[in-house]
Amino acid sequence: MRDARGDIKRPIGLRLWLSGGWLTLLALAAIFAPLIAPQDPLAQDLFTSRLPPFWDAKAEAGYLLGSDSLGRDVLSRIVYGARLALIVALVAGTLTCLVGGTLGLIAGYYRGWPDRIISRFVDIWMAFPPVLFAILLIAVLGPGLISIIIAIVVIDWTRFARVIRAEAMSQGVMDYVASAQVAGRGRFGTMITEILPNVLPTMVALLTLEMGIAVIVEAILSFVNLSISTDSPTWGGMISEGRTSVHQAWWVLVFPLITLFLTVLSFSQLGEGLKDRFDPVLR
């Protein structure tokens, strides 16, 4: 559909609604966690341990999704866990995008020796098994939020570098790049005005994908007890604890797992949806 000015008006697709909706919900939950969470996520109470979720006959009011073996409310812990997950997703995702995207852009547009150096680095980097690399990094840096973010950036910048490099290369041979150069614009200026806007849709798609991956990496690190301290709730930590009591209280494992799954899926779908919407060539 077009209006009189030729701008395209399209209804926001179901994909964007669902993924955006879930992420908005999560963001609100993270911001207003103290108001939303029915219980203190850290309060232990052995009288309320392993309560089943609300539909079960043995469920207790105030423990909507049940409680774990120490009597902590699962829902409250998921809500508080969203804080860490989203901070990691946003900060680590953005930093990874900036580092990898910049290097990829330079390699793909300048070619020559900058490309050779960056590409060889990427090749070497990608030969490391990523999870082991992360564990090693955390072991060196010490556990903590900053360490997790650094670890994710250090592992994952190569993904951006590779893809953005290829994209910048294919843009670099276009006639409008040559025209910009004939118009006397410098190489750096050309890169910013001609190449960057055209790799942006890809960058956005990759960025949201990376946010999902960051959430997973954080969960994996929590799972192996290398994330931030054990007394702040994380989804990965909950999954790890739930694993030990899965036969007595499956809900401790399953609910954070579902939350994690939906979040990662939403991030990737959001990226695809945004790319379709903002890529001038696709729309």
Binding site: Q181, A183, T193
Partner: protein, 289 residues
């Protein structure tokens, strides 16, 4: 009269030495239209690219001189060269579909040039762009300025590129097969438009094409290029009456005519190609390539 653009003995090779252009010389006089014809792969576009400093990375200029307005461009450092070219020359590219940045609106793509190179004020540049768009017969220029390239047709985009090429009042325009990507009806309009604009602005035009019919309509003089070498330089009328080089004659004979649509196409005979090959080889030997 002194030519505005003068290419002297230009040799361009692949990085590893295979020749692309063999000692090409040609002149474009101020305010004149010079055609550059030849078959695919003869190196036509590479001449334009060598002048503008946009040769692909794999190629480089081995020797020769490119005089633009009394200055040998090849003696200048690249950045200096581009600045000079940007101020005095412009390109009408072959493919209007890839020549405009898809993620930027049309307006800034035309005005940026004026603002950047000539230091115009933004409003003045916008007024100028509107005038130019009107001059190339674009309806509702104000709306087009706000459009993205994908919202416009190929013919429209080529008009915009022509407007954009003339924007900074360059002394020389290189048109690299400007009508090849368009269908025949649009081709004619665009051709007429380029000729009109050239005449009105008095710009020197180097018109690169493989289409002799097009050349006969717009050019004053022409060079015939074969395998990276100029085999004939001629004034228009003389060329069509009495081509001197056997390859030129064969090329002329091979042009399909609209007046005899059922007649079979005449290929360029192999003996002519062989003649040219020998001549190119002899030339190479003389030039020591």
């Amino acid at each position: 009269m002194k030519p505005y653009l003068s290419i002297r003995n230009l040799c361009v090779t692949l990085k590893h030495g295979a020749p692309i252009l063999r000692s090409v010389s040609l002149d474009v006089s101020a305010g004149q239209v010079h055609g550059l014809v030849g078959e695919s792969g003869a190196g036509k576009s590479m001449i334009g690219k060598a002048v503008l400093g946009t040769l692909p990375r794999a190629l480089h200029i081995r020797s020769g001189e490119i005089w633009l307005d009394g200055v040998d461009l090849l003696t200048l450092p690249l950045q200096e060269r581009r600045k000079r070219i940007g101020a005095t020359a412009a390109l009408i590219p072959q493919d209007p579909l890839t020549a405009l940045n898809p993620s930027r609106r049309i307006g800034p793509q035309i005005t940026k040039r004026l603002v950047d190179i000539l230091g115009w004020h933004k409003n003045a540049a916008e007024d100028r762009a509107l005038d130019l768009l009107a001059e190339v017969h674009i309806p509702d220029p104000a709306r087009v300025m706000r459009s993205y390239p994908h919202e416009l047709s190929g013919g429209m985009r080529q008009r915009i590129l022509i407007a954009s090429a003339f924007a900074a009042e360059p002394k020389l325009i290189i048109a690299d097969e400007p009508t090849t990507a368009l269908d025949v009806t649009v081709q004619k309009q665009i051709l007429r438009l380029i000729a009109d604009m050239q005449a009105r602005h008095g710009t020197a035009l180097l018109f690169v094409t493989h289409d002799l019919g097009v050349v006969s309509k717009v050019c004053d003089t022409l060079s015939v290029l074969y395998a990276g070498k100029v085999v004939e330089d001629a004034r228009m009328q003389r060329f069509f009456m009495r081509p001197v080089h056997p390859y030129s004659a064969a090329l002329l004979a091979a042009t399909p005519t609209y007046t005899n649509p059922t007649g079979s196409l005449k290929p360029v005979p192999a003996t002519v190609i062989e003649d040219v090959e020998t001549e190119v080889q002899q030339h190479d030997m003389r030039a020591g390539l």
